[in-house]
């Protein structure tokens, strides 16, 4: 087991950092926040064509590069530092993993090359108006109709739901409950009977949608009724990706705080010399370092695809959620008055931290899940 990044992985980090610094300046983030689609198609194309980010962990036989979650984690961490506005999380962390976990070889061969090439933006429609992240939260019923499948009902908080060309939907067969009877389906973004409504979100850097299905014809993905284990694994893998994204954001706001504490002078000395500020920064550092350790460990477990994954995914999601939110809140305090203004970037990170905290289940939910998973 080697916990240090390789030289090549460090180079990947350098390249992605250079890319997001250039393409996702604060100005650009603010511009995209105000647009309906919320991302730049040219940047998306460059991510696919040059850096090959969408194809990073897709196996080579399906048009990808065949690397692991460790490389993916580096990409998410770097994107998190600069709040890159992009359907990357929805496409890669959610939809791609769902297809990889649930799909048959033929289905993967049909769906993944488009994602790998950047042509297909995809997402996973899982949560419903009840806001639950567990199996019981899925109430949408899929019914057989004339040899095909039809979906009715509403999916909520679907990340990049309006941007997706391909929507992976989790639904259940009538008369089932809990983890039994859950199946995956795929639906085209412009399918007949599907109404997509953009939601007003507090975190404008990540778009969400309400998807209303009225007799939408859907294609099954994977074995009918056997979808829960694949979905559960997908959510764990997505939690790993999100943890790394949050760790990157947390490190960035810590750096921002320390930098400001060194230059902002009050009562004739830099505010960083005051104990109250020092303590805040020291606490942030402790939490950020621990968050990174947890996030990296979870990426390793996801990359190895070992039995530790469910436990460490919940552990790192819980820890990183708390650490990121705390860091962004303290960052505002350390910046004082300017930190509360719209013009300062502090609130962008604060809101991203809040939305990420809730996404895939908050820290309390994951601590409960962790307790169950380690059998206490």
């Amino acid at each position: 087991m080697n916990f240090a990044f390789s030289e090549e992985q460090d180079q990947l980090r350098d390249v992605v950092r250079r890319f997001v610094e250039e393409k996702s300046s604060e100005e650009e983030v603010r511009r995209l926040m105000d647009t309906e689609v919320g991302y730049d198609p040219n940047v998306w194309a460059q991510m696919a064509n040059e850096l090959g980010l969408q194809s990073l962990h897709i196996p080579e036989e399906f048009g990808g590069q065949g690397f692991s979650f460790v490389e993916l984690a580096i990409v998410f961490e770097e994107q998190g530092r600069r709040l890159l506005c992009s359907p990357y999380f929805a496409t890669v962390a959610l939809a791609t993993n769902a297809i990889l976990n649930a799909g048959t070889t033929d289905e993967k061969a049909a769906l993944l090359p488009g994602i790998a090439s950047g042509e297909t933006i995809a997402t996973l429609a899982f949560t419903e108006p009840n806001g639950r992240w567990d199996a019981d939260g899925i109430t949408m019923v899929a019914r057989e109709d004339g040899g095909g499948w039809v979906l009715d009902g509403t999916k909520m908080f679907v990340i990049d739901g309006n941007n997706a060309d391909l929507i992976v939907v989790a639904a259940r067969t009538a008369g089932t409950s809990g983890e039994a009877g859950i199946s995956f389906f795929t639906v085209a973004g412009d399918a007949q009977g599907l109404t997509r409504t953009a939601l007003a979100t507090m975190d404008q850097t990540r778009k969400q949608s309400k998807l209303e299905f009225a007799g939408v014809k859907a294609t099954p993905l994977g074995a009918a009724g056997q979808g829960w284990s694949a979905l559960s694994k997908t959510l764990d893998q997505a939690a790993v990706c999100l943890s790394n994204e949050m760790a990157g954001g947390a490190q960035f706001v810590l750096d921002m705080s320390v930098e400001y504490a060194k230059v902002r002078v009050q009562f004739g000395r830099p505010i960083g010399s005051f104990q109250a500020i020092k303590h805040k920064c020291a606490d942030m550092l402790l939490e950020v370092e621990s968050a990174k350790s947890a996030a990296y460990y979870s990426a390793w477990a996801a990359g190895e695809d070992n039995e530790e994954l469910p436990v460490v995914a919940s552990l790192s999601k819980a820890y990183c959620s708390d650490a990121y939110f705390h860091a962004t809140a303290e960052n505002i305090q350390i910046h004082g008055g300017i930190g509360f203004t719209w013009e300062h970037p502090a609130h962008l990170y604060f809101k991203r931290a809040k939305s990420s905290e809730i996404l895939l289940g908050d820290a309390t939910y994951h601590r409960e899940l962790l307790a169950q998973r380690i059998g206490i």
Binding site: E8, Q11, V15, Q65, F67
Partner: protein, 255 residues
């Protein structure tokens, strides 16, 4: 079509530079990076070879201590192989010595149709190496290219001038220096980064190139700090200040 790109591996500009006891830039500290101004040449070369449909991009670099991290960056972008000249005898080499080494390395590369270089390096700024390499090779030298085209054994460039550009052509083989911004250098993929590790890297000394009695050719006598910036001119606006601003910008040839 085989294109050599001269790339310099320079100390990271983000890290404050230090001088050695004989007034040279310390190059054995932090990891070197690919000079950003050379990344345009690499991208241009990749595009030209791609367009030609055959051939390869070969990197030539002179650096101390067998430094390869900057070369790896360019190999990750897609260059096929590299020749690295690393030799203690070349420490502190002046522009002409550097040019002699690079010209020999171009000959070693073999079958070269075009040599691309940046107009100047970001650490040395002499800006004379491309023309000297051309002279030593006996090839035409085209400079300050903001656009490069290859057709029928000829290279045609748009040569950046103060007012626009001149169209200049020469027969191949030739040496062309390209300006920054001529193309947008591509970002390498992780696959490219991984592949760079196993691409051929030919590390040689000056003697291997047949340059037996070579020396730095210069010594640096003293180094002074750059003069502090002078205070600007203050103009009281009596309604005609804009004229003074326009004149000033014209003097700078900005407008």
């Amino acid at each position: 079509m085989n294109v050599v790109v001269c790339v310099k591996q320079i100390p990271d500009p983000a890290v404050p530079g230090e001088l050695t006891s004989d007034n040279r830039l310390k190059r054995d500290g932090a990891k070197a990076i690919l000079d950003e101004s050379d990344s345009y040449g690499v991208e241009m070369a990749l595009q030209l070879v791609d367009k030609a449909g055959s051939g390869e991009v070969i990197l030539v670099s002179m650096a101390p201590n067998g430094e390869v991290s900057g070369l790896r960056q360019a190999l990750a972008m897609g260059a096929a192989r590299a020749i690295l000249i690393s030799d203690d005898a070349l420490a502190g080499a002046d522009a002409l010595t550097t040019s002699k080494v690079i010209a020999k390395a171009v000959e070693r590369a073999g079958g070269v149709d075009l040599v691309l270089a940046a107009t100047e390096s970001s650490d040395g700024y002499t800006g004379t190496v491309p023309a000297q390499v051309a002279e030593l090779l006996g090839w035409p030298s085209l400079t300050f290219a903001k656009h490069v085209e290859i057709a029928d054994g000829k290279v045609t460039i748009q040569r950046q001038t103060e007012n626009g550009y001149d169209v200049v052509a020469a027969s191949l083989p030739a040496v062309v220096s390209v300006t920054a911004g001529v193309v947008e250098p591509r970002y390498p993929s992780f696959k490219g980064i991984m592949a760079a590790k196993s691409k051929p890297l030919d590390q040689v000394t000056a003697a291997d190139l047949g340059l037996n009695s070579i020396s730095a050719g210069q010594s640096i006598v003293s180094v002074d700090a750059a003069p502090a910036r002078q205070a600007g001119e203050k103009v009281e606006d009596d309604g005609t200040a804009f004229e003074r601003i326009v004149t000033y910008l014209e003097e700078l040839k900005v407008i």
